[in-house]
């Protein structure tokens, strides 16, 4: 017991989290026959590592490690607080689901290409969440983006390729803008370490410009309206597991960076940017939902839903200036539950496509009878997306709503509620169809039970989040990631 405790507390889980998937990616590349096995095993190991990291942090607080012993200004630092921990956890969890799904989804050749890329993506994402300086963040962001583009082009169809190309351009553009921002900051303050920047940042043009560049770059990557043009095509045309990981995980990476930078560096010097974020977020919620409602294809609908749901994350910015931590907790919660729910939705959509050969919503008749688990997965994920209780989405929206109300921000209240109603409209637009009796029978392709169960379990996870708030919120608070630090405003 004692030994186990020592083992848990002393192991450098964070390093494992980065290196393990990297190594696994190489192995998969070399031994493509057993790639699935390696991949799934790695994901299990990652999940265990996250648990280990969590244990460690619960015992000792914030994790901080300078690689090779070089401290902040020079070396590469790894840093993990509650926010990072949760992002790592959700990545591992959703990643595991997607991996298991992928074992059934991809045939030999695709699998051989998918696994190394996917593990590389995981490694970069983990590294992103553990980075303590903005330059490392850039590197990981770029890696994530490139891996994601490669994955998006995986299915090889013309639509997918076009989508991937568009994605490549935007992600490069976004990274470039971000890099410029990093350069400006480095020039201005002589450091890329977040903690150091936080203490030195002042309200001055160089900071503003840097923030503008970085913000725009990240917003582009997150497809914040009006920069969302690339997202639906890309997410809708990729293969199901890839859509799921793009929507659920990759976008969260960019958001994590934005949130980190905001909290640590920019918040005291924002100069009204939060109002803009709030405005754009509101537009995203309404516009994205309306677009989703208009779609006739399932995957496009889900993709637009992502645009809408990301809007919620931005609504938090204006609220947080007063309410602080509560709102950020709400946002983190929304991000977590969105990751689970959206992954479940895309995987469910993948099942439907596999089953019926198309994703036209109007022809989804009788799916409930044929694929009850998939329909259930979609419904449960939908519940969380709508924000109905009890679900993770509800917890997030409740906290958000509560802050908006106590600040008298009626505009945001209306947006939140309207967004929920519209979400209900598009979710049930799909579900209503699935119950009707079809006059024509589809040419049915069997869907492996594993694929159905994965989608369902992920969706259940999103629902369960609604009950786990008392466990998760204290974890989030490790290291007080949501208290705004930095210099004098």
């Amino acid at each position: 017991m004692k030994l186990l405790q020592v083992f848990l507390t002393d192991t450098h889980w964070a390093i494992i989290l980065v290196l393990l998937p990297l190594a696994a990616a190489v192995l998969c590349f070399l031994f493509s026959r057993v790639a699935s096995f390696i991949g799934v095993t790695t994901l299990f190991a990652l999940l265990l590592s996250v648990v280990g990291l969590g244990w460690q942090m619960r015992e000792t607080g914030v994790y901080h490690h300078a690689i090779g012993g070089w401290e902040a200004p020079l070396g590469i630092g790894l840093y993990a607080d509650g926010l990072s921990l949760l992002m790592l956890a959700i990545t591992a969890l959703v990643g595991l689901g997607i991996s298991i799904y992928a074992t059934s989804y991809f045939k030999h050749q695709d699998a051989a290409r998918f696994w190394p890329l996917w593990l590389l993506l995981l490694a970069s994402l983990n590294a992103l969440y553990l980075s303590a300086d903005i330059f490392n963040l850039y590197i990981t962001l770029e890696l994530v983006g490139l891996a994601a583009v490669a994955l998006a082009s995986l299915t090889g169809g013309p639509d997918a390729l076009a989508g991937a190309m568009r994605y490549l351009l935007t992600t490069l553009l976004g990274s470039l803008a971000y890099l410029l921002g990093v350069a400006l900051l480095y020039h201005g303050y002589g450091s890329v370490d977040i903690a150091i920047l936080a203490t030195q940042a002042k309200s001055e043009p160089v900071l503003w410009v840097a923030f503008g560049l970085m913000g725009t770059g990240l917003a582009l990557k997150m497809a914040l309206v009006p920069l969302h043009f690339w997202l639906p095509a890309t997410h809708a045309n990729a293969s199901a597991p890839v859509s799921a990981l793009l929507s659920a995980l990759v976008i969260k990476g960019a958001f994590y960076i934005l949130l980190r930078l905001w909290l640590e560096i920019f918040a005291p010097h924002s100069g009204g940017a939060e109002t803009l974020f709030g405005l754009l977020g509101s537009v995203a919620v309404i516009w994205g939902s309306l677009q989703a409602l208009r779609q006739t294809r399932l995957k496009l609908l889900i993709a637009y839903s992502t645009v809408a749901q990301l809007g919620y994350l931005f609504i938090a910015f204006p609220l947080a200036t007063i309410a602080g931590a509560t709102v950020w907790i709400a946002v983190a919660y929304l991000a977590l539950s969105h990751a689970l729910a959206k992954a479940a939705m895309f995987l469910a959509a993948g099942n439907l496509i596999r089953f019926g050969g198309h994703d036209r919503i109007a022809d989804l008749d009788r799916v409930v009878q044929r694929l009850p688990l998939t329909a259930g997965a979609f419904a449960l994920a939908g519940v969380s997306i709508i924000g109905l209780p009890p679900s993770g989405g509800f917890v997030g929206k409740w906290l958000l709503l509560e802050s908006a109300l106590s600040q008298g921000r009626w505009d945001l209240v209306m947006v939140i509620l309207l967004g929920s109603l519209l979400a209900a409209a598009y979710v049930f637009k799909v579900l209503g169809r699935t119950f009707t009796k079809a006059p024509v029978s589809h040419e049915a392709h069997a869907v492996p039970a594993r694929m159905e169960w994965v989608a369902l379990l992920l969706a259940c996870g999103a629902i369960l989040l609604g009950f786990l708030a008392p466990l998760i919120i204290p974890l989030m608070d490790i290291g007080n990631p949501f208290t705004i630090s930095g210099g004098q405003p």
């Binding site: 409740w398 409209a425 049930f428 209503g432």
Partner: protein, 497 residues
């Protein structure tokens, strides 16, 4: 270990777990499914009986689990909660038996019974909720669990009805959520408290509180089918008969009415709400709904549709009783939760029997049906007289207390509403009875099934007879301890005044 703290949770779980297991069962495992259903129902009945006895003797049953920062998931078995839980539990048992008979041989039964159990779980949860957030959770769960039941038949008509239902309930849910969150931002608590928890709020919040009240009542009124929020209910009769029965008697409609009782008494507090000046408009609205529903029911030829409009009218009795804001009227309103449930479920069972046995869906096809199905129509007669408010059926007791309460509160117009409603109820129920008993039996029925010596399958016949007997007993034995009336008095003393 203190078991009392877990019994409310177990009551909720006793239908949730069988429901979840049933989802995974194959269509052919009829026996296992039936056994699970009945097991759950009986376990729940036992637990609820235990709680009723306990609460009567002053025990305290409460489950508390953390849910959100500063908010807990609370299940508490107070007298009011138990009234509704008791009703749901008994009627669930009866309806399950009915549904087993009704759906025999039809497809997708596992799905049906799964959602059916979920629906009851949500209802029981709504009843036991100890604070507004828990209430909200189960309230929305109820919306979701009912939807698949509504569109169970899978026809285009069912899909549209389900769509309308969702539009109404989702918007209602959003309004309720808004009201709740707003209230929370003002008070910092959502715990249901006897006589309300708002008394400490200052005068400056008066307008906000009025709006919150309106929001919450509007949100709950959608499910309680208060005019003009009633549009979904008549469409919802496309659902299979057991669903309609449960929907109208216990689950959805009642959850709305129950919520209004909760909001008025345990959130605002009746005196505080009266002080806000919101009770009188609510009473007028309820009165209008009562008359309007009855008027619309007059002109429906479809039996279930007529019953649906009757529900709209009858459920507002509950709201009216609450809104008159006097102790006696409240007893009438609260006891009508139970009485209306018993009577209306009887009527819907009977309508289902007619449809299932003879293919009769319309009032105009019911000529002489009393000769063919005397037991069913006898139960229907009891239910109908109860709705009219004729003694000694349960409806009489409710009307009695409502009328007395109105006199006590000096709101004499309510008597007119009650009289008008009774008149209209008579006008749309008595012709049915007349046609069924005294008109000539036609030579053939629209779609007749043969059940041998019995007039219909025993699983279809027994439930309406049981509920009709209960409705009669609730009226005749109203003064006995543990009768609904007696319990409503207990509620009034312990929780309201």
């Amino acid at each position: 270990m203190n078991w009392d703290a877990w019994i409310p949770l177990l009551v909720v779980a006793s239908s949730l777990l069988p429901g979840l297991v049933i989802f995974t069962l194959a269509e052919e495992q009829v026996r296992l499914r039936t056994a699970l259903n009945l097991l759950g129902a009986f376990v729940k009945l036992a637990l609820v009986s235990w709680m009723v006895w306990g609460v009567y003797n002053g025990h305290h049953f409460e489950t508390r689990l953390p849910l959100l920062p500063n908010l807990e998931f609370v299940l508490r078995a107070g007298p009011l909660a138990l009234l509704f839980v008791g009703l749901s539990t008994v009627l669930w048992l009866v309806t399950t038996i009915y549904a087993i008979g009704y759906l025999e041989g039809s497809p997708h039964r596992s799905r049906f019974f799964g959602f059916f159990s979920l629906c009851v779980t949500a209802t029981v949860g709504v009843a036991l909720s100890g604070n507004m957030i828990t209430f909200l959770i189960f309230y929305e769960l109820l919306t979701l669990a009912t939807y698949p039941l509504l569109i169970h038949r899978g026809t285009e008509e069912a899909r549209k009805a389900g769509h309308t239902y969702l539009v109404y309930t989702m918007i209602g849910g959003a309004l309720l959520l808004l009201g709740t969150a707003w209230l929370y931002s003002l008070t910092g608590t959502l715990e249901f408290t006897p006589r309300g928890f708002l008394a400490g709020l200052g005068e400056e919040h008066r307008h906000a509180l009025i709006i919150i009240f309106v929001l919450m009542i509007a949100g709950l009124g959608v499910k309680a089918a208060i005019v003009p929020l009633h549009g979904w209910l008549p469409l919802a009769m496309v659902a299979p008969a057991p669903v309609s029965a449960l929907l109208h008697a216990v689950a959805v409609v009642k959850a709305g009415a129950f919520g209004i009782v909760r909001v008025v008494y345990d959130v605002f507090g009746v005196d505080f709400a009266t002080g806000l000046g919101v009770m009188e408009p609510l009473a007028w609205l309820a009165g209008f709904t009562i008359i309007y529903g009855s008027l619309r029911a007059l002109f429906q030829d479809d039996l279930k549709r007529r019953l649906a409009f009757s529900t709209i009218s009858q459920v507002s009795y509950v709201v009216l009783g609450v809104a008159i804001a006097g102790p006696i009227a409240t007893i009438g309103g609260v006891v009508h939760l139970v009485h209306q449930g018993l009577m209306k479920i009887t009527l819907f069972f009977c309508a289902g029997n007619l449809a299932e046995t003879l293919g009769i869906h319309k009032v105009s096809e019911m000529n002489g049906v009393g000769q063919r199905m005397p037991w069913t129509m006898a139960a229907f007669t009891v239910g109908a007289f109860g709705m009219i408010g004729a003694p000694p059926v349960a409806g009489f007791i409710s009307k009695w207390y409502l009328g007395m309460g109105a006199l006590e509160a000096g709101q004499n117009w309510v008597l007119l509403v009650l009289a008008g409603s009774s008149l209209l109820n008579a006008a749309y129920f008595l012709p049915i009875l007349y046609a069924a008993w005294f008109k000539k039996t036609p030579s053939s029925w629209p779609h007749e099934h043969d059940f041998g010596r019995m007039e219909t399958a025993w699983a279809l016949l027994l439930p309406p007879l049981i509920t009709a007997a209960l409705a009669l007993a609730a009226g005749l034995l109203a003064t006995l301890p543990f009768s609904p009336l007696d319990w409503a008095k207990l509620i009034s003393v312990r929780e309201f005044y």
